[in-house]
Amino acid sequence: MNGHAKRTRSVFITLALAPAIILMTIFMLYPVLSVFQMSLFRWGGYSADKEFIGFANFVTLSKDMNFIRSMQNTILLIVLVTVVTLAFALVFAAILTRVKFLGVGLFRVIFYIPNILSIVVISAIFSAIYDPSQGLLNSVLRIFHASSWQGVQWLGNEKLVIFSVAFALIWQAIGYYMVMYMSAMASIPEDLYESASLDGASVLRQFFTITIPLTWNTIRTTLTFFVISTINLSFLLVTAMTGGGPNGSTEVFLSYMYKQANTNSAYGYGMAIGVVVFVFSFALSAILQAITKRDVYEF
């Protein structure tokens, strides 16, 4: 390669990479760095003066009962959504891959629909479902027991509302994870199941001794997805549906961050929350990966 050809090569490489690198630097790298930097400052927003206060924001945070509540809510949602969605998605995926009958394709198409809807749409749909007087849920429940279901406040009751949010998140997520598990299960060779049923193993036993161990790697990967997407989607859903209310009972990590920063203009404090959530999601994913490590079965 002579000097000229070498130069055109580097010019091509530079031109191809530069726009992507510039955009990533402006809209991702710089904002991420400023999250960490701002978390060390006291900054009330409209005033230009930022005061460096070290880790004082984090100290305040550890005593902020509203933040601790948002943390409890987030953890509760992560646990509920992960356990219920995982169980349902695994069972439905196993059924749809294992049992051969008419309409399998149609069920698969239907179960995936919630995943393509905007969170704003899902929040509006569930507001209609949970409406105490004209809502779909209460009107169905009234069929079973007329008086005791009169006007249950699915979104107004402080004890109940977090479970209403969890149900909407699960409704949204089942199809997505089901399709994920289905593609992992489709690669399990059929003769494993055949020899198992010849040995008299029940469907349930086959599920636990063949299906689960052979999809373990996919299940592990999706655990990280559950953590990350529950943190994000609970924020989007809560902001659109309950606004964190009533009385902070559905406040989650990122909705509290957004409120502190955008509504309260406590930017430094808000970004300190962002840092904690960031570290939390990484740590939780790492812990989950470590404790679910098994010897991978081969087939």
């Binding site: 055109t8 090569r9 490489i13 191809a16 990479l17 726009p19 992507a20 690198i21 955009l23 990533m24 402006i26 809209f27 991702m28 904002p31 991420v32 400023s34 999250v35 439905f92 059924i95 049992v99 009958f101 069920f107 698969r108 239907i110 179960f111 995936y112 629909i113 919630p114 393509i116 809807l117 905007s118 969170i119 704003v120 749409v121 509006a124 749909i125 507001s127 209609a128 004209q134 809502g135 779909l136 009107s139 409704w171 089942i174 199809g175 997505y176 399709v179 994920m180 593609s183 997805f225 990350i228 989007l236 990122l254 961050m257 920063a261 955008n262 930017y267 970004m271 959530v277 960031f278």
Partner: protein, 292 residues
Amino acid sequence: MTDTKSKGTKLYKLFVYFVLIALAIVIVVPIAWVFLASVKGNAEFYGNPWSWPKSFHWENFTSAWTTAGMGRYLGNSVFVTALSLVLLIIIALPASYVLARFRFFGQKFWNGFFMLGLFINANYIVVPIFLMLLDGDTKLQQLIGHPFFMNNLWVLSLVYASTALPFTIYLLSNYFRTLPASFEEAAYIDGAGYFTTFMKVMAPMARPSIITVILFNFLSFWNEYIMALTLIPGDNKTLPVGLLNLSAAQKSAQNYGQLYAGLVIVMLPTLILYIMVQKQLTKGMTVGGVKG
């Protein structure tokens, strides 16, 4: 023996059908209900929610379209989604190609740079992006007398495209890595330069991956609301933000028909797209990516 067994499997199948249909109902009924509700008159919302619409109130749609501004918001959403997709492909395609198929100084570093981006979710950086654009506008105000960055659909599209870059580059460069080197060698022998080889030979070959990228990002750009809500506080809203306003307004105005008509306007494009390409979407999904 065989008799009881076949009876058992029959029962099992029946049970399985029952469970599948139950879940399908839980998913389909609320969505179908919204479609029915969108043509109901306002008075009908105070009775039984399961009643069939007495007559078709198509005026719900015209009022959502014009009075609530959903028509204009739809235009904005189409513009932002299309522009973001074009920007994303134009920027990500050459970068992925070079990262996958060239050896050069700093290649490992830039690969790692884009991979790290996979861990950054847009929700974490809404606030700093907002502050950055606000700051830029204050400076522009002093310099040229009017703001530019906030309330700008072009800037919003650029933000969308940028935050989608890491995953798109990951997907496309993985695809480019699977192609044999003989294609480029043949092109070079025919006298084609780097640029021609990329445009005429390699980019067209990436079509299946490009389609996957477009499908996923169409959905995420079309449905996105927190960035649009923060960066477009003015009138130029996108569809999901418009819907958010509509459902907030509905709580006091009790204009249910208009709200559900608005919901249908937001849902319909994604549902139509999904029905057309559902096979490709669920197949492409398994290559990775986490929603939100």
